[in-house]
Symmetry: C3
Subunit: 128 residues, 3 copies
Amino acid sequence: MPFVQIYLGKHLSQQNKKDISLAVHQSLVDIFSIPQADYFQVIHAMEPGDILYPESYFDVPHTGNLLYIRITARAGRTPDMKQALYEKIASRIAAATPVSADDVIIIFVENDLEDWSFGRGIAQMVKK
Amino acid sequence: MPFVQIYLGKHLSQQNKKDISLAVHQSLVDIFSIPQADYFQVIHAMEPGDILYPESYFDVPHTGNLLYIRITARAGRTPDMKQALYEKIASRIAAATPVSADDVIIIFVENDLEDWSFGRGIAQMVKK
Amino acid sequence: MPFVQIYLGKHLSQQNKKDISLAVHQSLVDIFSIPQADYFQVIHAMEPGDILYPESYFDVPHTGNLLYIRITARAGRTPDMKQALYEKIASRIAAATPVSADDVIIIFVENDLEDWSFGRGIAQMVKK
């Protein structure tokens, strides 16, 4: 059910993009216990000037590899679960790609069970 | 007032895109009773590898025609109204384009009346 | 902390894009008192047919310069602060670019302090 939107620089390779996508998905599987098949994402490969960021914020420096991960999910996960998710996503991306953990920015937005249709015009999560 | 973001494959034709856009808008008019002029959308025509989805989820199979429709609207519609909206959008798209109802994924996100400006720097829905 | 997504026509120049981006950021600094370094945005330069809008809504007419600004921020700002923000953003963009205040559409979405990671896998705003 999470819907993930990734905004990254077009200089990253197809393999990098794939690894980043899988890092996010596998972290959601591990920490939020979503099913493996619950894999819904879009990736935007952006021109360098179209991703804007500060040199540093909260004492974390940033580079041209900075990427944004926007996760929409139903409400209900605790702050601790979210913190664990961020840590897992950032470390997985850093391990698999040239993007460092410092350049992984995550924004979480929540909705409700009735706010999802996974096809066929049905709101599957509240289906009676 | 809804703001609609559509993410679809670039293989779809301009006419398909137009038909999908209108299917979503007309369904919002019919089910949520928004005015005809309340038509605010962006469409992202994506590379095939940039839209990610499972082969099947909730027993609904997916193909390369899968598209995401992200709807932001003010809070207040009931789960039944949302379910009716999903059904209308999916059936309209299936009737007008090569995209089947199974490949129409919808994600709904809500905000409040003060969260909208329709130009001129005014928050029209809470204007005193 | 706000994350800003701007959807504008690709006919606008690089300088226009930069001025629009800065107009939004500086307005957030002025009205919401965010730090100067809290500058996180993506800009989507769209094909003309991929930005859809009505000729007029709420008595505000629109042109091909219409742009969407989607702001995600933590909850807590009052309707009056949001109204002041919209006014500041629209007037700044109109002063610095060919885009008129009528064509500046703003959509606000809120989340919570634990919904942000500014890199390094940390939820900085709720860090213990």
